[in-house]
Assembly symmetry: C2
Amino acid sequence: MYNMTFVQKLQKACRKNNSLLCVGLDPDPAKMPAGQDTASFCKAIIKATSAYVCAYKPNLAFFEALGDNGITILKDVLKSIPEYIVTIADAKRGDIGNTATAYAKALYDDLGFDCVTLSPYMGYDSIEPFIKYHNKGVFLLCRTSNSGAADFQQLKIQDGRFLYEVVAQKASEWNTAGNIGLVVGATAPDELKIIRNMCSDMILLVPGVGAQGGDIEKTVRMAIDKNSQGVVINSSRQIIYASKEENFAQKAAMAAKALRDEINQYR
Amino acid sequence: MYNMTFVQKLQKACRKNNSLLCVGLDPDPAKMPAGQDTASFCKAIIKATSAYVCAYKPNLAFFEALGDNGITILKDVLKSIPEYIVTIADAKRGDIGNTATAYAKALYDDLGFDCVTLSPYMGYDSIEPFIKYHNKGVFLLCRTSNSGAADFQQLKIQDGRFLYEVVAQKASEWNTAGNIGLVVGATAPDELKIIRNMCSDMILLVPGVGAQGGDIEKTVRMAIDKNSQGVVINSSRQIIYASKEENFAQKAAMAAKALRDEINQYR
């Protein structure tokens, strides 16, 4: 069962913009067009692309790298996201009890995010303080899109399963409030299929299309649920750095629309 | 081989204060004495305890939970730590390439930490941007002190080893610059012994004594290297919340001195 509040919001945004696309906000000053600061850049991207997405995923690292004002800038950016669109804090936190509670407070209450990404390594008590917020969502790292995913996630456990499968199964068991989803990279379509089969009613957050090389047709076909939804496909660099020229926002909009339409073609 | 810059700093601080004790700064407004804000509380604790520790470990979650000014407050607190004492950012980050680079920049360059804690789940390319800073240190989560550690870290791999052992071994292989250490909880003394045997020359950061119940004698005997050092034993709540009264700083100092001395007794 999906959590109604979080999933309803996502479903509504998906329907309204006919989109499974999430735009990742990774504002890197070295890659931004001349004359833009992080806030103006992100806000221009959001304004230009918001009709084509179901979610935005600000990457907290890039805001923290701004120093003292990082959180203020992030809040300013978040305010410019239309309210009906889902916000995912790409934080990949993972810590115990009272610390996890402090992170949940920071990300959900203070910053107002709808969802966060979390690392599973520390187990259930690192996730519980987040899933207690029944109207919010958690995306647990399961099979990531990077090369290092092979180091631990692809280890074979004694019963023959891979570690990422154990993570998917545990997440499924813990999902009593219907507010846990999984992060599965588009660079691993076979694993994506296995995970979708194991977790038929969980939302998958799929990074790794575009710059990281994931194939869009395969990704969509493997990741969608029986209703041709239940998946959020993230693209960051391909959209937000579509151009370094003055018309960067317009180019980002074109890239977002094109990717949304390509995704829809395979649903 | 230890990295000379990071390890030399730690060894010097350990020698100067005859201490393997790290005080964890987890400032929770609900537990702090009346009339104290986060900055004044942390600074009073640091002033009172700095003669008895080799390191401080601010937990970033508690500063992020303060909202917009969290990083400014953290910087203010960091400035009050004597320069010869090691600072560990308890961040448990873990993300890929360009994101990890942004986190490394935030934690090492902007905040000036000596070390950070990282989660291993995403593998080598999530750690590389940090270990590239040869004069800084990384503590990789290996066998944590919480109950959820059993969910994944204690899974048996096909070759009979536990996942945490594979993490320890990989960390050892990646430690070519001598600047990787491991986080191993005091609540798991048997695992601590196994890890110390596998990684004879790596620094272990050991949380879980005190409030979490780890036995001090066992912890010290299992964790020290052949020179009776190479370990940093963290205590947070037992020290910083030793009293809620006006004399909280004095009580924290007494608790820190007592724990330092108890640790030294078993070296």
